[in-house]
């Protein structure tokens, strides 16, 4: 065994050139071969790549999909996403627990199966869903659990769980997935037919500066959430000192309720890679990385295949489109279950083989990013838009959508509506129009932009979706009248507590405290003053946290406190006259002593 360990580590580290910046790949592969990354493995990896054991440990323990402890041969990860909770995922989990005879977090005694929960896995429109090993399993109901476990045990191969194939490219041999695309509305930008090479040819015909000018004229803004003007970002990187620059595509898609990038990766990877090449050309980068969230690992073989095809067609590699000096290639970097790696500087760190904690800015990635070199990070959809701008022209693109939000937007729609799925719609429609489209007219609320966005009430359904009013990275969770808004907020807080990277104090501690007080209120033990307590706490976390996660993580509570205050007030106890804390329960506090000492309290 020890020899085997040594051999495995030698092989794996050698494959990645003993390069410590490839730690993500090294750890993933060591774990794939040995089941977990033990302390001894960490020592050896550190030795081989000239790092330190504790650095390796830092990485292994940061990512949810890595483990330093043995797990079962198969790992079932049931999503904990709020949309799955709406569909009774708890019953599914209970069914798994019953079938396997273990609790969440445990492994069956025969060492075969580990049961876990995981944050949103991007299958909100077809949940409850789970990842079984790398295989996404959708529409799970408690009565299907038995057969899932049986097949897994009998075949020892999670792929065998795929009985029916999804539509489109999901059915390709290289994908072989039951996931469905659920494209409900195709627009002209993302889901229109595309001829590979058309954008690259147009780009290569003009100077990089002109490519940037086109993107600026098109008024393209980032689709990842923040809406930063894409042309301006490109220009910063282009003008940054140095010859070696990078273009990173952010396919981490971790915001609960978002899954549109998955559909692009499945159905329009050519458009995306075209956009990456064009962007690389524009900023002067010859190297690109597609950071693919670990949950989408099942798409990797297909994406590698598309990259190969493009290399063969001279749309990738050296002298693209026959133009000397137009060199660009892409490698795929898999993530491993960490929402924070969607934040651009966290993503960069992860690509460098480090813990995915963000950096302080300045310096911005466009000055000092990947390997401390100028780097542009763009969302999948942004890069697709860029390709289309080059293909069809800036003016064509700019006339779609609204004044400050040109183009179309992909919306990932889930929750209480009749037609969940992906919609490509021009920017600028109202929430009411949107709800009509998706069949969610009776919604009491819409979570716009996922948990880090805002939860709006009916009174705000006249607002417009777009950067000028209600920005969204695409996550749209419809909340029906039957829901308790505090349950939704609680699920979101759970997510942020889970996903905080822990670097900075307010986010690391504050989110736990927000959750505690929200739970107190949900348990019917809240006092009126708890609302002010929560407001002040939310403000502190938002104002003092280091990155976008902590700066938005209190939003589920902060925005519902603002828009659904009555829901909170309805759960509060009246102000107390006796000065006793409702959270202190003498009976409960004594129950352990009653058990241990075997008698009742002295005074009742």
């Amino acid at each position: 065994m020890a020899e085997n360990l040594e051999k495995v580590i030698q092989e794996v580290t050698a494959r990645y050139g003993k390069d410590r910046t490839r730690m993500m790949d090294i750890v993933r592969e060591v774990q794939a071969r040995l089941g977990h990354v033990s302390g001894a493995a960490m020592d050896l990896i550190a030795r081989e790549v000239k790092s330190h054991r504790v650095e390796v440990e830092g990485v292994v323990t940061f990512y949810a999909f890595y483990t330093d402890r043995p797990k079962g041969r198969h790992v079932i990860r049931v999503t904990d996403c709020v949309t799955a909770r709406m569909r009774h995922v708890d019953e599914v989990v209970a069914a798994f627990e019953k079938e396997l005879g273990i609790r969440v977090g445990e492994t069956t005694p025969d060492g075969q199966i580990t049961l876990e929960r995981t944050s949103c896995i991007g299958l909100c429109d077809q949940g409850p869903a789970a990842l079984i090993d790398d295989v996404p399993v959708t529409y799970i109901s408690s009565d299907k659990v038995k057969s899932l476990v049986r097949v897994l045990r009998e075949t020892g191969d999670a792929k065998k769980l795929v009985k029916t194939l999804g539509e489109g490219n999901n059915a390709l041999d290289l994908v072989h997935s039951m996931v469905i695309n659920n494209i409900r509305k195709r627009g002209d930008v993302i889901f229109a037919p595309f001829e590979s090479g058309s954008a690259i040819r147009n780009a290569a015909a003009v100077s990089p500066a002109e490519v940037i000018r086109s993107v600026k004229t098109a008024r393209l803004r980032g689709r990842g959430g923040a809406g930063f003007p894409a042309g301006m970002k490109g220009e910063f990187a282009r003008n940054a000192a140095g010859d070696r620059k990078f273009l990173l595509c952010n396919a981490d898609e971790g915001e609960p309720g978002t899954f549109k990038d998955r559909v692009i990766l499945t159905e329009a990877p050519d458009l995306l890679f075209e956009g990456m090449a064009v962007a690389g050309y524009a900023i002067g980068a010859t190297e690109g990385i597609l950071y693919l969230r670990g949950e989408y690992a099942y798409l990797r073989p297909y994406l590698e295949h598309v990259l190969e095809q493009r290399r063969a067609k001279k749309l990738l590699g050296k002298g693209i489109a026959g133009k000397a000096g137009f060199d660009f290639d892409v490698r795929i970097q898999l993530g491993a279950g960490a929402y924070i790696c969607g934040e651009e500087s966290g993503l960069i760190r992860s690509c460098e083989g480090l813990r995915g904690s963000p950096r302080d800015r300045p310096p911005f990635p466009v000055e000092r990013g990947y390997l401390d070199l100028p780097t542009v990070v763009n969302n999948v959809e942004t890069l697709c838009c860029a390709a289309r701008v080059l293909e069809k022209g800036a003016a064509w693109f700019a006339q779609i959508g609204s004044e400050q939000s040109s183009g179309t937007k992909l919306f990932s729609v889930s929750g209480d509506c009749r037609r969940p799925g992906v919609y490509e719609l021009p920017f600028g429609l109202t929430v009411a129009e949107f709800l009509k489209e998706v069949g969610g007219d009776d919604a009491q609320a819409v979570q716009v932009g996922g948990p880090s966005g805002t939860c709006i009430d009916r009174g705000q359904f006249g607002r417009k979706l777009g950067f000028e009013d209600l920005p969204t990275g695409g996550s749209m969770i419809v909340i029906g009248p039957q829901r308790d808004i505090l349950d939704v907020a609680a699920a979101f807080m759970e997510f942020f507590v889970e996903e905080s990277c822990g670097w900075c104090a307010p986010c690391r501690i504050g989110n736990v405290l927000i959750r505690e007080r929200l739970e107190r209120i949900r348990a019917g033990k809240g006092l009126p003053e708890d609302l002010t307590y929560l407001e002040e706490l939310c403000t502190t976390v938002k104002k003092t946290s280091r990155c976008g996660l902590g700066q938005t993580s209190p939003n589920p509570v902060a925005t519902t406190l603002q828009n659904f205050r009555k829901a909170y007030e309805a759960k509060l106890l009246p102000a107390r006259q006796d000065g006793r804390q409702p959270t202190f329960d003498l009976r409960a506090a004594l129950s352990e002593a009653v058990r241990v000492q075997g008698r009742e309290p002295v005074a009742h």
Partner: protein, 181 residues
């Protein structure tokens, strides 16, 4: 006009904070002019018979009796002061909060290195108040109006707080009086 009344109690504490109250030296006489001590270990009054302006409590809540005394104070005092680290955060006794109660009792009465207990029995007289699952800071059991930490809080701090309270003045401790040790 009747003098405002002050009550004090020591819960899961060591009486150190009470010693600190007495430590205000000759000012204790001045204090006696300003207030009347009601229920307190200082004068051994056992039951509240009148409403008090201020209740001063040392020690956290470690057993059921502590809780009842504290609730009684809350009922009978206008203002409650949580005095000393044990009251404000559990203090030394709260070190057991990191160990389950059962283990704690076993360590204290059976297995601890200094234990001499040939009968191998954990005290369990029906008269002994049952122990809580952990030691609670006072403000987790009842609402507290004022916290004064310290182990013990300096006598000067206690004095300044009381004088400010009695004169309805804002409390502004000078540096060195707010301390946690």
């Amino acid at each position: 006009m009747a003098k405002p009344k002050v009550a004090t109690a020591s819960l899961a504490g060591c009486f150190g904070c009470h010693m600190s109250i007495l430590d205000i030296d000759d000012r204790i006489l001045k204090l006696a002019e300003l207030v009347e001590f009601h229920k307190s270990p200082i004068n051994d009054i056992k039951k509240f018979s009148e409403r008090c302006l201020v209740g001063i409590i040392e020690g956290g809540c470690c057993n059921e009796e502590n809780v009842h005394v504290l609730q009684d104070f809350r009922k009978n005092c206008d203002l409650l002061i949580s005095l000393g680290d044990c009251a404000t955060m559990g203090g030394l006794p709260a070190m057991r909060n990191h160990v389950p109660l059962e283990e704690c009792l076993a360590e204290a009465y059976l297995h601890g290195p200094t234990v001499h207990n040939p009968a191998k029995q954990i005290p369990n007289d029906p008269e002994i108040p049952l122990i809580l699952d952990k030691v609670y800071p006072l403000h987790e059991v009842v609402k507290i109006d004022l916290h004064l930490p310290g182990c013990p809080p300096p006598a000067d701090a206690i004095w300044e707080v009381l004088v400010a309270l009695l004169n309805n003045k804002p409390i502004d401790l000078k540096y060195g009086l707010l301390r946690y040790d």
